[in-house]
């Protein structure tokens, strides 16, 4: 066997693209996410032969075909389960799960819950476009109430799930948010997710130009974005607005956030909260913020590492081997009371 050493450190974003023609609708937010993933991989020096991209079903799930890494396009909702098996078989692999709001929170909601609570070392990127795209426009579990779609002509009556609140509730130890069109922030969030050991959950607000165009315009439109987006940073005050003159604080006497506007002095009052990404309670308040009363929190909302699942499993396996090396099969079959010899 010839060993080829490939120095992936020198790879450019385009080197992570496969030779397959990308077949998303023109203008789809998925293009931007693909580009950001290529860039993030180049920046972290991801090795293609050690990288595996796993997906379920849906528009987002086409992702592996557009990567030059290893990839597995699986079945609806099951990517977390398959990715768990990959990590159990080979913990050295760098595994990404690409999913959507239907794939990850509807048909695969159970697997998402468990992969997060187990803390399997994966990057899970959930493309949230609040609609089913591949099946042609039915409402999804993140669609807002009243969404009119082919299956809900009078508007949906059920309440949506919040992807990040779900992730936090499931016990995720890394929860972040980004917008497809904000490349710099998106790449930054993906890099942080990659650096985190354990399950990293990233929700990307992704625009579906065909079935749900403009779903996120309320807070992603360029004019007004400063007032509708809160980019959180660990250790920095939770401030937003075009002049960075608005902040979040706890409403006195209540476990609720409120927006305060600074006076001319530009001195940040002491009661404006400072982002602590290790604080789960704060994270739960932040992911619940919604326009128009509040900005949408973006960036790394929660990051509080703990040992990952597969690392703990392998630690147990190592401990089970009292002596180094793999024991002989004969030991397994013979080394029990109750054998007898017939001559």
């Amino acid at each position: 066997m010839t060993v080829t050493t490939i120095t992936d450190a020198e790879l450019q974003p385009k080197d992570y693209a496969s030779d397959q023609e990308v077949r998303w609708c023109p203008g789809c937010g998925d293009y931007a996410i693909l580009k950001a993933v290529h860039k993030a991989m180049a920046e972290v020096g991801a090795r293609r032969e050690r990288t595996v991209v796993v997906s379920g079903i849906g528009c987002a799930a086409r992702f592996p075909y557009y990567m030059s890494t290893y990839g597995f396009h699986t079945i609806h909702g099951r990517a977390p389960a398959i990715a768990t098996g990959i990590k159990l078989a080979n913990p050295d692999l760098d595994v990404w799960v690409m999913t959507g709001d239907g794939d990850g929170l509807s048909i695969g909601g159970n697997h998402m819950l468990h992969v997060l609570r187990r803390n399997v070392d994966l990057q899970i990127v959930l493309f949230n476009n609040e609609i089913y795209g591949l099946t042609k426009g039915q409402y999804s579990p993140t669609s807002r109430r009243g969404t009119k779609s082919p299956s809900t002509p009078q508007g949906s009556v059920d309440y949506p799930v919040s992807a990040c609140a779900f992730a936090l509730g499931a016990g995720a130890r890394f929860v972040a948010r980004a917008v497809d069109t904000q490349q710099a922030q998106l790449v930054g969030v993906l890099r942080r997710a990659h650096a985190h050991r354990g399950a990293s959950f990233v929700e990307v607000f992704q625009n579906c130009v065909v079935f749900n165009d403009g779903a996120f315009d309320g807070f992603t439109a360029k004019d007004g974005a400063a007032d509708t987006q809160l980019h959180v940073e660990h250790g920095k005050p939770l401030m937003f607005g075009a002049r960075k003159d608005r902040g979040l604080r706890l409403k006195p006497g209540k476990l609720e956030l409120e927006v305060i506007t600074l006076s001319e002095s530009s001195v940040i009052p002491d009661d404006v909260l400072v982002h602590d990404e290790t604080n789960r309670a704060l994270a739960q308040l932040l992911v619940a913020l919604e326009p128009p009363a509040f900005p949408v929190a973006l960036g790394v909302i929660y990051c509080n590492p703990a040992p990952s699942f597969e690392a703990e499993v392998y630690a147990q396996a190592a401990a089970a081997r009292a002596t180094p090396g793999v024991p002989d099969l004969a030991e397994l079959l013979m080394n029990k009371e109750g054998t007898w010899v017939v001559r």
Binding site: H73, L88, A89, L93, R321, G338, T339, W340, V341
Partner: protein, 624 residues
């Protein structure tokens, strides 16, 4: 050694069936297990079968709380747990109520009169006292106050009444060990180890065991009955142990992994009766390269195995019928992506939840055909507890050689049944090392080996072999996604040809007993092996030209099977289902196979198959 095996009063028996029956809390499984070990050590052939209630803690004294353990042992080749019971040990009225119907006329029933209280009789639903109303007249009845004798035996150890009461099973075991001239040293050592932290409990149990034994030994026993001897069975020299089907599958999988040269097995399962035992057994084999994963559901369990297979490990999952239904979609993915996988199905009575603790063979259609689209895979079945080892190894061989999912059919009976196993010569086990693809030159993921039609196994981590696979149809020549109609037809044919071609890589079908032609072939698969074999043996002893054909390979069939079956005038297919293999055989070979079907959650009795053989030939004569 304290056994009185040489006692002149003993009578000789070729084989004996004993059933220990009592309340769930009476320790009948432990009692049976210890009797099994002592019997195996005494050199008898044996088969055991536990029959315990589905309820975790059924109310004491009720008929649905009865737990039983049956052992058939003998000087001859023992293949089934026995049609009829020779000795029934009934620890309470409910056990007598439930199990008496299986006792042969003239058989012995040992009852603990101390447990036959009015309250217990009422709970068991007796309207008159069975020990007094003459209903036991056809049997030899040993009425012993086991409760009182046990309490007397353990009174010096300061146990609470409840703890003392729980030693009754050891008293009964002691008596049965005496009755069949068994040693009890290993059980004494086992008790001391089991209760190492509670020496008074250990001593009390040993005292009860010895008291039961001594009772038989003393003159007190002679007025009730005599002891028996059962000669050693003539067996092949070697090192033996008892093994259950579950253990044999676990070890066979490990041996298969080694034979394939794989470092790791990822075994993922979700708790389901009666398959959970395999998960438990393998969870203790981490030292041997086994990683077990209790997944969140059946789908995730097989999903993790598909992922593990993609990553280059042996993926194995295990379930029972309803769980198998949930795994169906993932099996389709494994077929489309051509990844190796072993799925063990411990079949139980269905449909739906059915009777979870009872055996059935009704998932054969599901295994062979139960997926959307044309989705072939290999199907194997184990015949006996010891056969489970070989079949598990074979499942790993087929999965890795042909890059395919393999379904290994076991059942609730095999999962628990145990028998002596000659530990194989490990140096002579088959070897089938996997060759992972490492050469990037000319690689694509659906290149095919011309002989097996299997695709290369290319592990992530291998430089230059980065590739994408998935459930979408692939182009035959490039491995890329393809919607081309002709290509889909070609890929469908190729997937079918690959599985059909396994027939060239497996042994020809042989006859388990009898000639390869004749008046009647009794064709079976799975755990009905023992009953069919005995029935065919009896038929042959009675001058009937019968043969036993037992299938390990259910998809594809061995390539000579049709030709073999056509050499028989009649074909009878006993199955614990409503007729599945019989249909597959008729469809494949256009042979006039007839079904013998039983769906009671119980194994076949030898006599049921014997009668079917005679009836079939009788009909044949009528026609002539």
């Amino acid at each position: 050694m304290t056994t009185s095996a040489t006692s002149p009063a003993r009578e000789s028996r070729d084989s004996v069936v004993i059933r220990f029956a009592g309340d769930s809390g009476d320790g009948m499984q432990v009692t049976g297990g210890r009797f099994t070990v002592e019997t195996a050590l005494a050199g008898n052939d044996l088969t055991t079968f536990p029959d315990y209630p589905a309820e975790i803690r059924a109310p004491a004294g009720t008929t649905y709380g009865v737990s039983a353990f049956q052992i058939h042992f003998g000087a001859v080749d023992v293949m089934t747990p026995g049609d009829q019971v020779d000795v029934l040990v009934a620890m309470n009225p409910a056990a007598l109520k439930v199990d008496l119907k299986d006792l042969r006329i003239g058989g012995t029933v040992v009852v603990d009169t101390g447990a036959f209280t009015e309250r217990n009789l009422a709970k068991a639903g007796f309207t008159s006292h069975p020990l007094e109303d003459g209903s036991l007249a056809p049997y030899q009845v040993l009425k012993l106050d086991i409760t009182k004798r046990t309490l007397d035996a353990v009174k010096d150890f300061g146990l609470h009444t409840r703890e003392a009461h729980r030693c009754r099973n050891m008293w009964a075991l002691g008596l049965m060990l005496w009755m069949y001239g068994r040693d009890r040293d290993v059980t004494v050592a086992w008790l001391k180890q089991k209760f190492a932290g509670k020496p008074e409990i250990a001593q009390a149990n040993v005292a009860a065991l010895n008291a039961g034994h001594a009772f038989g030994e003393t003159a007190e026993m002679s007025e009730y009955g005599v002891g028996y001897t059962v000669r050693r069975a003539p067996v092949t020299p070697g090192v033996y142990r008892t093994v259950s089907g579950t253990e044999a599958i676990a070890w066979g999988l490990v041996a298969g992994m080694r034979a394939a040269g794989l470092e790791k097995m990822i075994f993922a399962g979700y708790p389901i009766t009666p398959a959970s035992l395999l998960l438990h057994t393998l969870a203790n084999l981490k030292r041997y390269g086994v990683i077990t994963f209790q997944a969140e559901d059946e789908i995730a369990a097989i999903g993790a195995c598909v992922g593990a297979a993609y990553a280059g490990a042996l993926g194995v999952t295990s379930t029972s019928g309803p769980g198998m239904a949930l795994k169906t979609e993932m099996l389709g993915l494994a077929i489309a992506t051509e990844l190796p996988l072993v799925v063990v199905n411990s079949q139980r009575a269905g449909p739906s939840t059915g009777m979870p603790t009872k055996a059935e063979q009704s998932d054969l259609f599901q295994a062979v055909h139960g997926r959307n689209a044309d989705a072939p895979l290999a199907v194997l079945a184990a015949a006996t507890a010891t056969d489970c080892f070989d079949v598990a190894m074979e499942a790993v061989r087929l999965a890795t050689t042909y890059m395919t999912p393999v379904v290994l059919l076991s059942d609730a009976f095999l999962a628990h049944a145990a028998e002596p196993w000659r530990i194989p010569d490990l140096d002579r086990l088959p070897r089938f090392p996997v060759r992972f693809r490492t050469d990037p030159a000319g690689f694509h993921p659906f290149l095919r080996d011309l002989k097996t039609l299997s695709r290369p196994w290319a592990r992530p981590g291998t430089p230059g072999l980065e590739h994408r696979i998935g459930g979408l149809e692939k182009d035959y020549d490039t491995g890329h996604i393809s919607y081309d109609p002709e290509n889909h037809a070609r890929m469908t044919r190729t997937r079918a040809a690959k599985i059909a071609g396994i027939a060239n890589g497996i042994p020809l079908q042989t006859v388990a007993l009898g000639a390869d032609h004749g008046a009647i072939a009794v064709v079976g698969w799975g755990s009905t092996y023992g009953a069919i074999h005995q029935a065919v043996r009896r038929a042959r002893q009675g001058g009937i030209d019968a043969s036993h054909v037992h299938l390990r390979y259910l998809n594809p069939f061995p390539r000579n099977l049709g030709e073999l079956l056509r050499r028989f005038h009649r074909i009878v297919v006993p199955e614990l289902n409503n007729g599945q293999l019989v249909q597959l055989l008729r469809a494949a070979y256009l042979v006039p196979a007839e079904g013998l079907n039983k769906v009671q959650g119980k194994p076949f009795k030898v006599s049921e198959i014997s009668e079917a053989i005679e009836a079939t030939l009788g009909r044949a004569r009528d026609v002539v």
